[in-house]
Symmetry: C2
Subunit: 336 residues, 2 copies
């Protein structure tokens, strides 16, 4: 099968679909619940508080420096669970494949998903495959939907944010956006930027174990840091003031942004979290983050003010303040 390409009949539900499931998906995703091959996975939940998240991935290109659409889809679902304070447990995987995709490409993606799910401990327990005709899709789209359990005592929500709270970001921003853009457009760089695509369950566990001062967390993916801060400001009804010079940005990313006309604050990240925490807990959280390889460049970038309500302000190094709005047009299509 390895020299083959995906055909419409791989999506027919018949013999070829079953071959694909048995020879490819069950080989890599070897969970006993998935092996039941029922229309639904059934399992016991160790807690009654369930977290549930979905994302479809349409990133172009499907292989990029630092990752691929498969790794991205597992990391994205894990990260969306952990920022809600949930422990990732189970996930579904649904493929929409364009006819003609080389089977070796699918295998590479499936292997990457299997590896990432093993690393993070999330179990792939149910799935689906559809195939569409050439030019009715684009290589492969993946939906991953995750279930996690929320630990007792944890209740994270932007509504808990209070004036005086501190904004922490777990590392440099814009890496994923620039990695995808430069790779897609064939822009050569002296030091190529890799996507930061990574599962954040370990990092989040470290800070949740060490502090009860965390109000809210979110991962600044599509729409970037500026979008997450605006969502926070909107949902708590307060103002967030960010100091531009305190936001960590790699030199290569800053350089690429200047040449290409992008603002790193709006670029997607796939391995970062933004945390809002009480002032007295902030330095402890920062220390805990920095001890984790994925949070080594964590920084305090701003704080929460009473007003202007529902606004994000950014202060330049010379002290000027301007409103940091949500992105209004298309930044980069198909970044995740």
């Amino acid at each position: 099968m390895r020299d083959e390409r995906i055909a419409l009949s791989h999506g027919s539900g018949g013999r070829l679909t079953h071959h694909l499931i048995e020879d490819m998906f069950l080989r890599f995703f070897d969970d006993p619940i998935l092996q039941e091959l029922n229309d639904q996975a059934i399992f016991r939940s160790p807690s009654s508080r369930i977290a549930f998240t979905t994302d479809s991935y349409v990133v172009n290109p499907i292989f990029f420096p630092g990752g691929d659409i498969g790794k991205l889809s597992v990391c994205g679902t894990v990260n969306d669970l952990v920022v809600g304070g949930a422990e990732p447990l189970y996930m579904s995987v649904s493929f929409i494949i364009e006819e003609g995709l080389p089977v070796t490409d699918l295998e590479r993606i499936v292997a990457s998903m299997a590896e990432t799910s093993r690393k993070t401990g999330i179990r792939i327990v149910t799935g689906d495959t559809k195939v569409v005709e050439r030019n009715k899709g684009d290589k492969i789209f993946i939906n991953t939907t995750g279930i996690g359990v929320v630990r007792d005592g944890i209740d994270l929500s932007p509504r808990h944010i209070k004036p005086g709270d501190v904004i922490i970001v777990s590392g440099t921003i814009g890496d994923h956006g620039i990695a995808i853009l430069t790779h897609r457009e064939g822009i050569g760089m002296e030091t190529p930027v890799e996507s930061d695509c990574a599962p954040l369950n370990g990092l989040v566990r470290d800070i949740l174990d060490g502090s009860d001062g965390i109000r809210a967390m979110r991962d600044p993916t599509r729409g970037g840091l500026a979008t997450v801060l605006n969502e926070f400001a909107h949902q708590c009804g307060l103002c967030i003031l960010v100091k531009e010079e305190d936001v960590p940005v790699r030199d290569e990313v800053r350089g690429a942004c200047e040449i290409l006309g992008f603002d790193p604050l709006y670029l997607a990240n796939e391995g970062k979290i933004v945390v809002v925490a009480s002032e007295d807990e902030a330095s402890g959280i920062l220390d805990a983050m920095r001890k984790n390889p994925l949070g080594r460049e964590a920084s305090i970038i701003g704080r929460v003010l009473k007003e202007p309500e529902r606004k994000v302000l950014i202060e330049t190094p010379v002290g000027n303040r301007r409103i940091l709005d949500m992105p209004s047009g298309e930044q980069l299509p198909r970044i995740c």
Copy 2:
């Protein structure tokens, strides 16, 4: 917004994405959990046994006699939960939209999903939207992923099937397949066939409440009745013998199949279930089904034999038996 078309920026995660969420999705899907607009939905589960199912819908055309891709996606997820003996509770919705889709088409689909979710009681609690460039998708693809709870004492599995068990189908087969095919290809028919697309939670509740003799259930969607019977035979290691003349098929569907060269046993259904039950409970289950409008034409179509192992046999009206295999080539692409 109603005269507009979906643009790439509706998928950017920025201002236009937020408009779409607030003006369209939250207007129709008005669940308080969804309104939290967090990256994950958090809720309490009333039982520790959870059922979990996913499907992506790529049906072409997106509007067809008897339904649309939105109704189909909600029914499909509800049905995949109920055939596992689960009560549908929560679902996610993830859209992959081709740039240029009229906003009114999206609204019609979203309204149809909202109506179907209200009818079935499943709550839409989290979602995602991506937009791809023209000719990199096809109007709209929808992933729905559902969570249900399994009632105490219920344990359905093809592995419980025993020799002597009876096979029941809840009504006529092939309606959805012929509805999609004739509508897509513009084949005029004297009596146009409508898709049977329907949520089966009520019908399944009726039979589960009335009998503890149900071994396994499945909905014969893509791949049709023949595929489900083969899956059953494979998973229980026994033989299933079907009497061809007992399988209910509408005259219009039979006629269309003869002209177009299809076999109704391989055509997709979206509002039917196949039940395997103990012999002594079969007539009670049949009666319960026939009292429900969605099971009025329920029929006993066959039974389970010891051998030949893992095979499905079909007996013609004159008594000849042949093997009914899984479909091996492409039957009908993009049927669901």
